[in-house]
């Protein structure tokens, strides 16, 4: 039988065999000292990960390995230690930007319905799809409810629409008259949202808490055209950090509701826009089922359920 040290290391390295797993459970089940040791080791492992900033907290999605700096795909939440120290310090410091962010978070947490229209400021409005069609971001509409539900409507170059969405438990995608693809993998299809792979806080409160405060220089000023609005600009401090280089939010001072957001430096690997602006166009409540796929296609449409990874 393996020693506890090896079992724990196999566990942490992701190489635990079924036999080892059973042995570990038996040890923990029968021995309170082993449980205390295990908790101690896990705690230190977590703290050691946390202090390096290797823990990336981003939008909820399928389980994956904790991502390390050199290999992460998502901009995600800020370096962990920076979050703990930087953000705490930031919030403790009497800083209007901190209060502003708090307001935005409050508004976000209320889970109200809202719709944004996308305008392409830079780059190509059309993004190629794998089937040689192209989809336009210019005039696309993004509807949101809370932090997990969305519907994104984009036009296809040969007519019809691509509608992508999530009701919080399953994600789905409808391309023109094609079948409806549904997945319980909550990360599926979300790359369609501009900046989503750069962890834009439309659907991700943690990005707002972390990335903005830890990785960005933030300036806050009154909006020139409307004193009821505030303008929060975030510039990324270090080029080597993943994440959009510049973002700008205009939000209502009283409520924190984001009325527009400009994202610069969107990734260009798949073509498409380089900078976009999302403008709040409606805060009307949607029907309860609006974020389910069934609200967006005929009842006889073919539905393909993808299995989660």
């Amino acid at each position: 039988m393996k020693a506890d040290t090896e079992l724990i290391q196999s566990l942490l390295d992701g190489t635990l065999s079924e036999e080892d797993r059973a042995a570990l459970n038996e040890r923990l089940r029968s021995d309170p000292t082993a449980r205390a040791d295990f908790a101690q080791q896990m705690k230190l492992h977590a703290l050691l990960q946390w202090r390096t900033g290797s823990v990336v907290v981003d939008t909820p999605k399928a389980p994956r390995r904790v991502v390390y700096r050199q290999s992460w795909q998502w901009a995600g939440m800020a370096a962990a230690a920076a979050l703990v120290f930087g953000f705490t310090f930031f919030m403790l410091t009497p800083n209007p930007a901190a209060a502003a962010i708090s307001q935005i978070i409050t508004a976000w947490g209320q889970a109200l319905d809202r719709s944004y229209t996308i305008t392409v400021l830079e780059g190509n409005a059309w993004q190629p799809l794998k089937d040689n069609r192209r989809v336009s971001y210019e005039g696309a509409r993004l509807h949101l409810r809370g932090g997990t539900q969305f519907v994104l409507e984009r036009m296809l170059d040969r007519g019809g629409e691509v509608i992508t969405g999530s009701d919080g438990t399953s994600n789905w995608d409808i391309r023109g008259k094609g079948p409806v693809r549904v997945s319980t993998d909550v990360s599926r299809f979300r790359g369609a949202i501009p900046g989503e792979y750069q962890s834009v806080p439309f659907l991700d409160l943690s990005s707002l808490l972390g990335s903005l405060t830890a990785d960005y220089d933030i300036t806050l000023r009154e909006n020139e055209s409307d004193p009821a609005l505030q303008r929060l600009t975030a510039h990324k401090r270090h080029r080597e950090k993943r994440g959009l280089p510049r973002m700008e939010f205009i939000f209502r001072q009283a409520t924190g509701t984001i009325v527009s957001m400009t994202l610069h430096g969107l990734p260009q690997e798949k073509g498409g826009p380089r900078a976009v602006k999302l403008t709040l166009t409606s805060e009307a409540a949607f029907p309860a089922d609006f974020f389910t796929h069934t609200a967006h296609h005929e009842t006889d449409r073919e539905i393909i359920h993808e299995s989660a990874p």
């Binding site: 040290t5 724990i8 635990l16 101690q40 050691l48 907290v57 409160l205």
Partner: protein, 168 residues
Amino acid sequence: MTPELVQQIAAAQSALYAFILTLMAGQDGAADVLQETNVKLCREWQRYDTSRPFLPWAMTLAKFEVMAWRTRQSRSRLVLDNDVADLMAEEITEAPSDRELIALESCLSTLPARQRELISSRYDRGETVRAIAKRLAQPENALAALLYRIRKALHDCITAKLAQEDFA
């Protein structure tokens, strides 16, 4: 939600991560569960009784999120059996504080150079023990045992430092 509560959520991140990671037995997805816990904390903040400590309340919500994560996994992908996971949840009555992170930095600086290098390889550079053992041409189980001892030593060092501060 008040700025004070936002501050408390931010300050509790490392503690919640450690708590979640332990209940998940170090499995992939702890960061995602932490994110889901943060969302829940923001949504449920009106239920928080401000006359009580924040962290136990946050840990309770985090535990529910871990349970939800467990139900989403197939049984074959879970490391801990249900009864053992329950036992571990009972085992953790306290989550680490910011003070422990600060103490950790101090304790790391007292480690011998070789041990610091090992910690750096494993955590800063994200190498697995197997990879480190191969690179250093050392037995894997010996390095695993050394890492175990280092983590234990760091734990003891942190505990001693905090006790020292409390008495000072």
